[in-house]
Point group: C2
Chain length 379, copies 2
């Protein structure tokens, strides 16, 4: 890594990298955050610069609860929220406080590939549960529950990363029943819940925290800006307790009080709503454009049309290997994430993940042109 | 905890709580941060709002390296720095990546009490090494090394929390030699290094990272504002590697890019230097006032006169119990941290920790008056 790097990824000039699951730089709300910071830092109360309440500033949690109530369409209370430094940090904290090395957890197959690294850091034993276009296959989960006692299931129920699938309402009910019967936690990564473009998803699993078996993760990374490192855990207050008493929180205070304070003004000034609406409008166009181009230029390859989120999960004919295609694709200045990265069992080799969040429509179409030449060559 | 709490601690009205190891609200640089945020958010480059480089923004690390070079009086390089969400988060990350449950680590006796909670979360086996007025007793360390193989020693070498002791130059040399001979890491919590009032400490242990046995932790919590949740790890680049590849960092990007960017402007505009100078001037007065009042009003109780930092560690006559005194003290609207909290072995019962960071001089004197009535009553 060059020492003078600011962002996590540096994309080579000329490359269109569909692998980048990040917003375009131009979508990051710098002006709105400037206004919010100015608003917040002019109020003459410096208490958000002090060691913060472990659960997060109560006033910010009230504001966030109101925001979530509106966008989730269900009552969210401040007492159910713990402010985090983003969903990754929440997952890390959950592993610290709820697991021991060697514990079994269930993940979806495919799953968010970088969560796998967090689970590796905690030496967890992963069992993959297959998905289809309606999300996690609950029958398969039931079978695995006969063999394993997982501490938790890690699931991305809406606009899945990478598969774009959304867990159906019926399956959600069955999943919730199973979590109670078999006494495991559902860690629901719901960071794409508010990013629906064509099809509103069912209410988030956060709607069921009163079962005491659901921990829902949310983040401002997808709806505002990743560099804020701000998110939340929503769970029954009793379920939050062990997290609140983590040494990290008791020693450092709340996880991001300064940034919380700025984002509180962002919400209060209506700028967060505007930002979300803008992102949805832009991503809707990009999603539609990428889907249409793929249907046209790589006919025969199947994928779930994304109703929201950041991703398209392209299935190659059985026997083809996305990693091999990737080598050739890079030679033509186009890239993607090969499916194997999203597998806890070295599978999914005939899949690839494309994101439409980073590039504008013209670039996406250009990228599909390049990709189609490689993919179609040997079909 | 009240839901409407912003700060970690709510001190009852009328109470003077010497237990609070936090800066006064009035010392938090709200105006300077406003200026810095405005500066940074007006530059038309939104890249610090993107997923950040795992190690932290390279430009920020250059700026921080220059700042540290000046204040540490030794060359610090950007490649040696990993940006964190504060020293607590750095400790948590070190435990995640360098330890397994059941591993032994050494801590000082006394040690920073909230670090003990982090070590508990990672199920580590703690062995305490006694200290005196010159810091960790290296002979005692050597004895323990004959019996244990610690992964690391957690030490606070300058202006210790709680004991105020600073590790002497001679002991530093011997400690470094032992770390190499016995192959353990020194995790040096150097957050008070720059807060010297009367006696500059020896150069930080960070000066010896090239041995590959030192990891130095720094933080803006003590020199700017705790609510920023911003700090750094300084270590040999090879030693940083396992931290950089933590799932938390690969998934979430850099640990606090937005706040880093604001603090970069704070440093560049000279506001950070001004803030540090102001804090030192204020704390120097408070430290001197508290020391003088204690010498006068609780004669016979010994303590290391603090040359810097936040704390005074008051020793009661053998056989007296600070926890019992605390009950009575609270009845008189004065409080402190009892020594037992700082012990990994339920010891140190005849000590108490006072902080001079939170209250102004008049309040400190008032507090000592109240405390002296309780302490002297039965002496």
């Amino acid at each position: 890594m060059s020492i003078l790097q600011t962002t996590q990824l540096n994309i080579p000039a000329g490359m269109i990298d569909f692998g980048v699951g990040q917003p375009s730089l131009s979508l990051l709300p710098q002006a709105a955050l400037k206004q919010a910071a100015e608003h917040r830092l002019s109020q003459g109360d410096a208490s958000f610069l002090q060691y913060g309440a472990e659960q997060g500033d109560g006033y910010f949690r009230l504001t966030l609860a109101e925001f979530l109530s509106k966008h989730y369409g269900l009552p969210v209370e401040a007492g159910q929220l713990l402010i985090t430094s983003g969903a990754s940090q929440a997952l890390d904290l959950i592993c610290t406080r709820f697991t021991q090395p060697g514990d079994t957890i269930f993940v979806e197959e495919p799953t968010y590939f970088l969560a796998l690294l967090i689970f590796r850091d905690y030496h967890l034993n992963l069992v993959g549960i297959p998905m289809d276009e309606n999300g996690l296959i609950v029958e398969a989960l039931e079978e695995k529950l006969a063999q394993h006692r997982p501490v938790f299931l890690y699931t991305i129920p809406a606009f899945h990363n990478p598969s774009a699938a959304t867990l159906s309402a019926e399956r959600r009910e069955r999943l919730l029943r199973l979590s109670q019967e078999h006494n495991f936690l559902i860690v629901a990564d719901e960071v794409y819940q508010m990013l629906d473009y064509t099809t509103p998803p069912p209410p988030p699993l956060a709607a069921h925290i009163d079962t005491n078996h659901v921990i829902s993760l949310g983040s401002f990374s997808k709806i505002t800006a990743p560099g804020l490192r701000l998110g939340w855990v929503q769970a029954a207050p009793a379920r939050l307790e062990p997290l609140l008493h983590a040494g990290l929180l008791e020693s450092g205070g709340g996880l991001n009080p300064f940034t919380s304070a700025v984002v509180q003004s962002l919400i209060e000034l209506g700028l967060q709503d505007a930002c979300l609406a803008h992102l949805k409008a832009v991503y809707q166009q990009r999603s539609a454009a990428l889907s249409a181009a793929l249907r046209q230029q790589t006919p025969g390859l199947s994928f779930v049309e994304p109703g929201g989120g950041f991703f398209i999960w392209l299935r190659l004919p059985e026997g083809r290997n996305a990693q091999e295609i990737l080598v050739e694709a890079r030679g033509r200045n186009v890239s993607f994430q090969p499916g194997i990265k999203f597998s806890s069992a070295q599978g999914l080799q005939n899949y690839l993940r494309l994101s439409f969040a980073y590039y504008d429509t013209a670039e996406l179409l250009d990228g599909v042109n390049r990709l189609a030449q490689v993919i179609n060559k040997d079909t």
